[in-house]
């Protein structure tokens, strides 16, 4: 046995005795140092994929994606079944008119019509045709370029080929809101209707209702 190994063997219990309290102290310091006061979720929350039709962990009483999906699906299914569309000899043309938002929630009001149009275009497969009226300025410019011969045309540019609308699709969002000590309640009635452009008759109308309630922490009341 060398002198070094003898010395080491004598020191070994000493190291054990010192290292245990040292590590313990480190753990205590570590826990004390991790108070993260004033920081919520200091390590963050990883990105979570949600389905658009489910309520996420961030929710309010206003208009949310699951409402949009529910309402747009219901309206698209309802529209495609009406005789004016289901039995039409040629696909009727529809122009989207802005939705009237009468609720207390500012929203992108076009989003409902965009989703209904998308649903109908993908599911109804040519039973209806939407006119791109929001693009009229660009369309007219292009037509004028063709008429002037500045660009090529695949048909006679002198002809009027812009289609007129058979129907207007529009809607109204109306709300009832209540706030008491028991919490906040928001009811929204989503009403959509199809108007015959020739007669002004409302040929289809459907509604969806969503009511949400919530109560904030007492610290905010």
């Amino acid at each position: 046995m060398s002198m070094y190994s003898t010395h080491f063997n004598r020191m070994k219990p000493l190291f054990s005795r010192i290292s245990v309290p040292l590590c313990g102290a480190a753990a205590v310091f570590l826990m004390a140092g991790c108070a993260s006061s004033g920081v919520k979720n200091p390590s963050g929350i990883p990105v979570t994929h949600m389905n658009a039709d489910e309520q996420g962990f961030v929710a309010g009483t206003g208009v949310e994606s699951q409402d949009l999906v529910h309402v747009a699906d219901k309206m698209a299914r309802s529209i495609v079944g009406i005789p004016q569309i289901a039995n039409a000899a040629t696909p009727p043309t529809i122009v989207l008119q802005p939705v009237d938002n009468q609720t207390r929630f500012p929203i992108n009001k076009d989003i409902f019509l965009t989703r209904i149009r998308g649903e109908l275009n993908s599911q109804a497969r040519g039973k209806v045709m939407f006119l791109a009226r929001s693009q009229m300025e660009a369309l007219e410019k292009e037509r004028n370029l063709k008429r002037e011969g500045a660009v090529t045309a695949s048909s006679d540019p002198g002809l009027q080929e812009f289609k007129g609308a058979d129907y207007f699709l529009t809607g109204t969002l109306q709300g009832l809101s209540t706030r008491t000590a028991a919490g906040t309640s928001d009811y929204i009635l989503y009403d959509f209707h199809l108007i015959d452009a020739r007669t002004s008759a409302i040929v289809w109308e459907d509604q969806a209702e969503i009511k949400k309630q919530g109560l904030e922490d007492a610290a905010y009341r």
Binding site: M11, F15, I18, S19, L22, C23, A25, A26, A27, F29, L30, M31, A32, G33, C34, A35, S36, S37, G38, V39, K40, P42, V58, A59, G60, T61, G62, D100, N101, Q102, T103, R104, F105, P106, I107, K109, S177, R179, T180, A181, G183, T184, G214, L215, E216, D217, A218, A219, Y220, R221
Partner: protein
């Protein structure tokens, strides 16, 4: 000795690694446009909405409307999603944390003002329906007052709700009547379908918060008397006197008691009770230990004294202080005027007047308007703190 270094090094590393996230402090310069973005980036997240409010208001005065929109949108998202469990709010209610630990969303008057500002910006962008939605939310935020006489009593949001409805082809007279009913001493002008310029006015220093009570547990509001109490608009041949329609200080002070005031009251009672109990236990315990010759009685006395010390520590750790974080660059008064202007260039002059009707010339603002169409509204926001001249 090498082996001794390893656990020591490990201990130091672990300690350092664990200590990185602590409360962040921000050095303020006094310029909101500098402090706001800095505080949002580097300050505590619980103050984020507060700084968004302040920076948005400052941006409105500087005519930087896209920036104001950006901050208000983010603040209103937080405001609209506060339902249910919130760890910071739970902390704020606990005995050992201050109310200011909660995420700031403001008192109802502050929330209403955020919606009013956002409504003005929506209208500026040609979205009167979303503007109306904001004005309705502004009224909604004020709907849960202790005294129902003061519930939903903002004048301007109600008046603008009706005006937006009329602009959108509806009948806004219900809202007009509600606005007139809550307008204290002001006769509101009837809606003018031909008016295409909407001028929003804000003036005077708004309310701030302070705390009273033994432990600062009672929230109070303070306002410096405004040197500006009315305004005068001059454009072309028009001269339009403008009286305040809404008093933000009035809105702040008429909300009444909060649920949180009750919580803070309980905290204050607990703090007093544990302090008194601690005093009694320490004095009683030490006296018993000192005068008794019995070892058991002395031990019991010292135990009681120790419990007293614990009670004093608990009392010292209890924080009943009210949250006095304030949206401190709000105006005292809000007002509004709308009038018709033909297509073309117009110079609008806004003069602010003191209580005796004298013009405060150092506050006069000029707005150069270029009206390109009378089909949609031109919206102008002017504060006594606005930059001048503005060109829209």
């Amino acid at each position: 000795m090498k082996s001794l270094r390893q656990p020591t090094l490990l201990a130091v590393l672990l300690t350092l690694a664990g200590c990185t996230t602590t409360t962040r402090q921000v050095v303020l310069t006094g310029n909101v446009m500098v402090d706001g973005p800095n505080a949002m980036a580097n300050g505590p997240p619980r103050d984020r909405v507060l700084w968004e409010y302040r920076t948005a208001a400052a941006a409105m005065c500087q005519g930087n409307y896209p920036l104001a929109k950006q901050y208000l949108d983010d603040a209103l998202l937080t405001l609209g999603g506060i339902y249910g469990n919130d760890p910071n709010a739970r902390k704020a209610r606990s005995y050992f944390h201050a109310e200011a630990k909660k995420t700031f969303i403001g008192e109802p008057y502050e929330r209403s003002m955020a919606y009013i500002y956002r409504g003005i910006l929506y209208w500026m962008d040609g979205e009167p329906d979303n503007a109306r939605a904001c004005f309705r939310s502004a009224e909604f935020e004020d709907s849960d007052t202790e005294n129902h006489q003061y519930a939903g009593d903002w004048v301007l949001p109600e008046y603008l709700d009706g005006l937006a409805t009329m602009r959108l082809g509806g009948d806004g007279m219900d809202a007009f009547k509600r606005a007139q009913a809550v307008a204290r001493g002001v006769k509101l002008p009837p809606y003018n379908p031909k008016a295409n310029v909407l001028l929003f006015l804000a003036f005077g220093p708004g309310p701030t918060k302070f705390a009273t009570g033994q432990y600062g547990e009672e929230l109070r509001f303070h306002a410096v008397p405004s040197t500006v109490t009315s305004a005068d608009i001059r454009v072309d041949s028009l001269n339009i006197p403008v009286a305040p329609t809404d008093d933000v200080v009035f809105q702040a002070t008429t909300r009444g008691g909060r649920v949180m005031d009750h919580v803070l009251g309980n905290k204050a009672v607990f703090k007093t009770a544990t302090d008194v109990a601690g005093n009694v236990a320490i004095i009683g315990g030490l006296t018993t230990a000192a005068v008794s010759h019995d070892q058991t009685a002395q031990a019991v006395g010292l135990g009681i004294a120790l419990a007293g010390v614990v009670s004093k520590v608990v009392s010292a750790a209890t924080v009943p202080a009210a949250d006095t974080r304030s949206w401190d660059n709000l105006p005292h008064y809000l007002s509004f005027a709308c009038f018709p202007l033909p297509v073309g260039q117009h110079a609008v002059t806004v003069q602010f007047l003191d209580p005796s009707g004298r013009v405060l010339s150092n506050l006069t603002k000029t707005i150069n308007l270029n009206i390109t169409t009378t089909d949609h509204d031109t919206v102008v926001f002017v504060s006594d703190r606005s930059v001048t001249p503005q060109t829209l």
